[in-house]
Symmetry: C2
Subunit: 498 residues, 2 copies
Amino acid sequence: MAKAQKTDRTIPRRLKGFRDITAADVFARDRMIAKIREVYERYGFVPLETPALEYVDVLGKYLPEADRPDGGIYAFQDEDNEWIALRYDLTAPLSRFVAMNLQDLPLPFRRYQVGPVYRVEKPGPDRFREFYQFDFDSVGTASMLADAECCMVMCDTLEALGINRGDYIVRVNDRKVLSGVLENVARRGEVPPQASLNILRSIDKLDRVGLDGVKGLLGLGRRDESGDFTPGVGLAPPQIDIVLHYLGIKAESRTVVCDDLERVVGDSQVGLEGVEELRRIDEALGGAGFDEDRVVIDPTVVRGLTYYTGPVFEAVLTFDIMDDKGVRRQFGSVFGGGRYDDLVERFTGQKIPATGSSIGVDRLLAALRVLGKINIDATTAAVLVTRLDRNLTAEYQKIAAELRSAGMNTELYVGKQGIGKQFKYASATGKTVAIVMGSDEINKGEVSIKDLRLGEELSKEVGPDRKKWLEEQPAQFSISRSKLVEAVNKVLGRYATR
Amino acid sequence: MAKAQKTDRTIPRRLKGFRDITAADVFARDRMIAKIREVYERYGFVPLETPALEYVDVLGKYLPEADRPDGGIYAFQDEDNEWIALRYDLTAPLSRFVAMNLQDLPLPFRRYQVGPVYRVEKPGPDRFREFYQFDFDSVGTASMLADAECCMVMCDTLEALGINRGDYIVRVNDRKVLSGVLENVARRGEVPPQASLNILRSIDKLDRVGLDGVKGLLGLGRRDESGDFTPGVGLAPPQIDIVLHYLGIKAESRTVVCDDLERVVGDSQVGLEGVEELRRIDEALGGAGFDEDRVVIDPTVVRGLTYYTGPVFEAVLTFDIMDDKGVRRQFGSVFGGGRYDDLVERFTGQKIPATGSSIGVDRLLAALRVLGKINIDATTAAVLVTRLDRNLTAEYQKIAAELRSAGMNTELYVGKQGIGKQFKYASATGKTVAIVMGSDEINKGEVSIKDLRLGEELSKEVGPDRKKWLEEQPAQFSISRSKLVEAVNKVLGRYATR
């Protein structure tokens, strides 16, 4: 229990790292998801929905920090004492689904799935323990066409969301190339146990710690600005040089990068396989017209999840933004994935190669918001029918029903406040129009319509033509009861095109 | 761990009571949710999304079977040893949200929320441990207008989903009336501890066990057909008679039922309050034109959740259906809710009355499926571009890109099977059209289009005009490469109106 209180009231509190998402944000996210879905479906992916809970051994331990005691997941025992957990991604459950349905499933099985996943991580401003992923995958194909297609879908998705070409880049690498480099490192001298994973993690930190930082992490360790010391992998300088030389490979042309990588991996069989995979991806991307302004080969890409076996890819936003607090920063990776040829095999014993990508819905939504690419003012609220005189409630109900029948979202006020507070309530809940009718109006067969947004709109910067037009509109007027629907529709129309 | 195997393969298995939802079902459910959302928004409700995990004490114990040791929920300790749980409904989290945001929230706060909830219940064919609820609530109003509105929204929602008036009924009761009856029972003699809750549970079983069954449950106990004995509440016969008399109240007119209830509750203050609430609801329903063909007052309604304090309501489907196995059954309650005036107060100490309803998305979807009100064949799949000749892959990619640009969902085959298997794959994944192009075609500047649905459609029962028209359509034909998009569009159009 949290802090005790004198009363036996329960303290209303939310788990740390979790959040409540209110109307405007739900709308924005849903619109974003709808756009993403359209692109995924355009490429022939169809939906699948797996449960939020799975057996722990079925999920496996593939998180970047899975060597932590709790494995970074929400795990607990069910009533049969079996260990179950909230999914930490959508890929492990997909592999379980394919393994269970292998007999009936046409391969490649191409599905998308959107939903929350759960990780026990240190929460931050844009880092939640419950967050949305939106994945697409092709299971049952070893073809690099599928990996190239992942990159293409990532580009098309970002552009469909309004991110301009040039404001993002998809970066591709191959875990087999990294394995080839590790083989060469091992040939040059002793390698400590667990070194492979730690070398990959060190490389993965390049963006944050820079090349010198990686050098430290590969060698004797690194002390950061705060004075904290991270122990190093313990490689010898000639070994470190191999990695640094590899990380230095950079060229605009994907073909040139492949040629350079081929030289670096030398005669490592797995390394050469990786380079060949990258060449196939380059070829498929070229065939579809996806050039280096959209997709590059970048040896520094690792991706954290440990289940990747071949190509890995990520999309990063390349522009700086100012966040809410005026701090300049980059959004970094918003979309990532790769090939995971062993995930189904761990269930079936049979090789079912697979590849796919996952978009970080929340982080990308935050980026779109900062970019102004998502309308966060959108609301479905339209009309409030006020209740000036409780005795006229049946008449108010009829008005509300008429407006609803005509397709307008209409709330009948069901609170107990007076008319002034009702207008405030209408504005606070985003209504455009308030309807008022007292006994005066009813005797005259009339009804009053109040435009709640006009004042606010007039204070905005709009073109002179629109301003003039807005100024001519009445903020409140009475009309014949029989013309109500038409008149409300017209007022709503004042803002419909915006 | 489950059954051990000789290999160290993991057994792919899903938690019992959970399910995977495949494409057609996801589409059907999403279309259903969109229709429900439209009705909720039409009444002025806006979305809110709370987390799946909450503190256990924040959720409270309100499930019908919450006196079970595990409380019927998925609860476990987090890394700080605090008890957390997956939400079992969307009302308790809403109350927590309102309590946390009381300063800034315009009241009544009217929100809808859709999402999975989790209960550790005995799984059944249509009973899952993870299931969707779609709630709407008005928090911060004591007005019976809000409760009447709940009933109206329930009616409008069911009709929007294609359920005809007369095929459902909304039944309303009031917990205060039930309390009044219990008061009268207590006045007639001794009442065992915990009797109130158990009397309500016995009444709640009326649909299943009949009036005689309830009589047994209120008295010495009841033996069911299987021979199982359920102990009774232990009431004396005159006490039981009060309950049975109450349960026998039935009339078409809501006013008449209220008059009868008023007599039964006698001078019980709380009972009279309950009757008065029902009269206010009747009045509001009448004002909006919702008569007894849609909403009735029914004294047998209890609703299981223990947080209800006043009006309770449920919508039941009134027709019999044949299920998949040819068994005749009723769907029963698909939509339910009530007033819960104390849920926010337990956090704030301040009275924040509230009322709302929850639709059981999965059960209703099952009903719509049986009724044929939901198209379960709908698919977003349209075109498969086959790969007859791997060397022509770049050309196939161009074709796929062209079709996508024209708005057609198009998959490029990325597997490794031959052309015959590719056609089978196209059909199995629901494609309408397959595109074929070999070196022959390419030399002639042509491409082949295969209609995969024509044969299937011809075998269906369709009108003679359509049959004749369909028979005249070519199942496969070649056209000039430049006319591809137009021609594929035309073939898809063969089925677009269906």
